[in-house]
């Protein structure tokens, strides 16, 4: 496979994963903002997904509508859904002969959806949940079409490598931001709504209720988001998948690059697998999560060096 093609597939997939998680996160945060306005702040969301300076952040204040418009539609925000879908589609456009027509059509249609003038109006005046649901549905179509139509080859492996790296980073970031708010008061009587929304934003609420049954405790939430291999958004689950799909790229060529990346992925996966909530608290959650995301970024650079470099 052409390096450029592998590169594009990897980034297309990363951007779509990021789009999906941002949309879900927005939906739940919006619900939360309607629930308990005194306790709720958009600040962490803006911090991870925006690139506003203090002044810009102050300008949209805690206005949910403005924030949704900024994160969904703003042309100037590189992480806006608008821009990410555009980039994902641009990547797909350059590799149409390496993806199925169904997949191309799906991304192309999503691209036309985020460009509709109506969307802006709807976010401003209509029910935002309806709008976000419609966009989330486009993401689900993307994942479904990928699963059903994409040929099981090198291309899909690179897409999955990108997808699970991105997912691990997203889950780590959300955990970091949400829990760091509480860092000094972990023993505070748990704010049920807060935890509930955190879990819902990564679709982990039902699983949590079933698994832990004990009400909301920070240690259980950390356990689920980091280590629960039945939870498809946990960091360990993502790293297992990353490991699995990368191993399929093994071939007689490029043995040096393969060995390097494989080593890094294996090492990181073991590190997470053999951590526990206790060992994490010794290091400190924030520092631990930073180590993980830094190592994932390093894996990305190494992939880039050995697999994607073409110009």
């Amino acid at each position: 496979m052409l390096s450029r093609v592998a590169d594009s597939l990897y980034w297309m997939s990363r951007y779509m994963e990021r789009t999906d998680s941002i949309l879900r996160m927005l939906k739940i945060n919006y619900a939360s903002s309607q629930d308990s306005p005194e306790d709720f702040s958009w600040e962490p969301v803006l911090r991870i997904f925006g690139n506003l300076d203090d002044e810009g952040a102050a300008a949209i204040d805690n206005n949910s509508r403005k924030i949704l418009q900024y994160i969904v539609l703003d042309r100037e925000n590189p992480n806006s859904v608008f821009n990410m879908v555009t980039i994902a589609r641009e990547n797909a456009r350059g590799v149409q002969d390496n993806i199925t027509t169904e997949l191309w059509k799906c991304l192309n249609e999503f691209y036309h959806v985020v460009r509709e003038e109506r969307l802006k109006y709807a976010l401003q005046y209509e029910d935002p949940v309806t709008v976000l649901d419609a966009l989330i549905k486009e993401c689900m179509i993307y994942f479904g079409v990928t699963d059903i139509t994409m040929f099981r080859g090198e291309g899909l492996c690179f897409m999955n490598v990108g997808k699970y790296m991105e997912r691990a980073i997203q889950s780590a970031d959300i955990l970091d931001v949400k829990l760091s708010n509480f860092s000094n008061e972990v023993d505070k009587p748990t704010d049920t709504a807060y935890w509930k929304y955190l879990l819902m934003s990564i679709s982990g609420y039902s699983l949590y209720l079933k698994r832990y049954q004990s009400g909301f405790e920070a240690r259980n939430i950390i356990d689920q988001v980091l280590f629960n291999v039945d939870f498809p958004r946990s960091v360990l689950y993502s790293l297992n998948q990353l490991h699995r799909y990368f191993e399929r790229l093994k071939s007689d060529q490029n043995t040096e690059g393969y060995a390097k990346v494989q080593f890094m992925i294996g090492k990181l996966r073991s590190k997470v697998q053999y951590s526990s909530v206790e060992s994490v608290s010794l290091i400190g959650l924030h520092d631990y999560l930073t180590e993980i995301t830094t190592e994932i970024d390093d894996i990305g650079s190494t992939l880039n060096k050995y697999y994607f470099a073409y110009s």
Binding site: L2, S3, A6, Q96, D97, K105, N108, H112, Y307
Partner: protein, 482 residues
Amino acid sequence: MTATDLFHKYPLIGNTWDEMYDEDRVRAHYQNVFNSLSSIPADELSKKEELARGLFMSQGITFTVYSSGEGIEKIFPFDIIPRIITASEWDLIERGIKQRLRALNLFLKDVYHEQFSLKDGIVPIDLIYSCPHYLREMQGVNVPHDIYVHIAGIDLIRDHDGTFYVLEDNLRTPSGVSYMIENREITKRIFPDLIPQNYVRPVTQYPNILYNNLMALSHGQVSSPNVVLLTPGIYNSAYFEHTTLARLMGIELVEGRDLVVENHKVYMKTTAGLRQVDVIYRRVDDDYLDPLVFNPTSVLGVSGILSAYRKGNVAIVNAVGNGVADDKAVYVYVPEMIRYYLNEEPILKNIPTYQLGKPDEREHVLKNIHKMVVKKTNESGGYGMLMGHAASEAEIEDYKKEILKAPRQFIAQPVISLSNAPCYINGKAQPRRIDLRPFALCGPNGIEIVPGGLTRVALKEGSLVVNSSQGGGSKDTWVLAK
């Protein structure tokens, strides 16, 4: 509005061939479509037009226009009423194009080798050496099977009596074939059953024929040749076509930055290291192909690719240097080439053409410029053209000055009126000018022309310019089996 209103009061334009009407009678080969369309309520037709637009958009059959930093997707306008060619008309077209291509291929081989036709005075030598597309880098270079023109898109038009004329020979990187294929797919969707009812010949085999021809060009030392399509990239207006052809042939779509030349061999950069490339179907013009030899600022090409080509380590399609044969001044001599190389009479006519490099012809043209179309010999896409009957005096004066600066670079032709075909415009069928570009594929086993082509339409009322860059659209083009 009742259905028959669609063709009611369809205006026949005087002294012009109408594809559907013979005086006020519908031609036999259009009768079936006439009946079918007439039985469809008018608002249904508008819905079909809307459906067609939606299908083009959602499949991304679009080109991107960049304005204020943001890309806007445009579709190449599509007219829903098909253009129909009878079996006997097609027979003539097919024989005529094959004959012309055989002669042009022989001419290119001749020009870049012994130059018999120049020495025998069939084509003036100075015309060749003054042609910017004549590439001395290609002199003496052998190309596989002596084929230069693997893909041709020869443009045909019809004069007032229905006679076909060759307007120009596109022998470099003709585009539009994806619309031949996609327009047919759209017609299948918007007019169910209409195609089988009319015994329309299929066009879907085009990519297979092209693929087999490309494979046949490999030097034969590898069991599975690596064939790629070289595109200028996603910003090119024909990018959709490049990606469609690559997909339909199952070959890799590459950009210049994906390729590298080492030791006179071309490689592509893959996730498993370098892999040699054997055949390149390039959609990058000669000028941009190799910055070491041609335009040094090009980032679309590959440094050193021409040396690999000259050594025979890679086949390039179409051959490099073909522009010398579709130069608009060299065009004048194609009928003579047919007589010289094939000892046959030309089947398809040339449009009478004046070369402004010749003093007496120049004088005649300048005197009668209102009746002429003047074109630059090395431009295409409808650029740099003067329509004498439509231009203002000031435009003509400016253009005359341009001509006198470099007369060799201009030719003139009498205004040919182009045939009309009915188009669905504002809820009514209205006559608009059309041309025809069939796509001919030349391989070691001969020339094949897929029955169909690109019919371009001048959508502006009264316009004679069909180029997409000048407000043109296209139609599905049917060749009937009987």
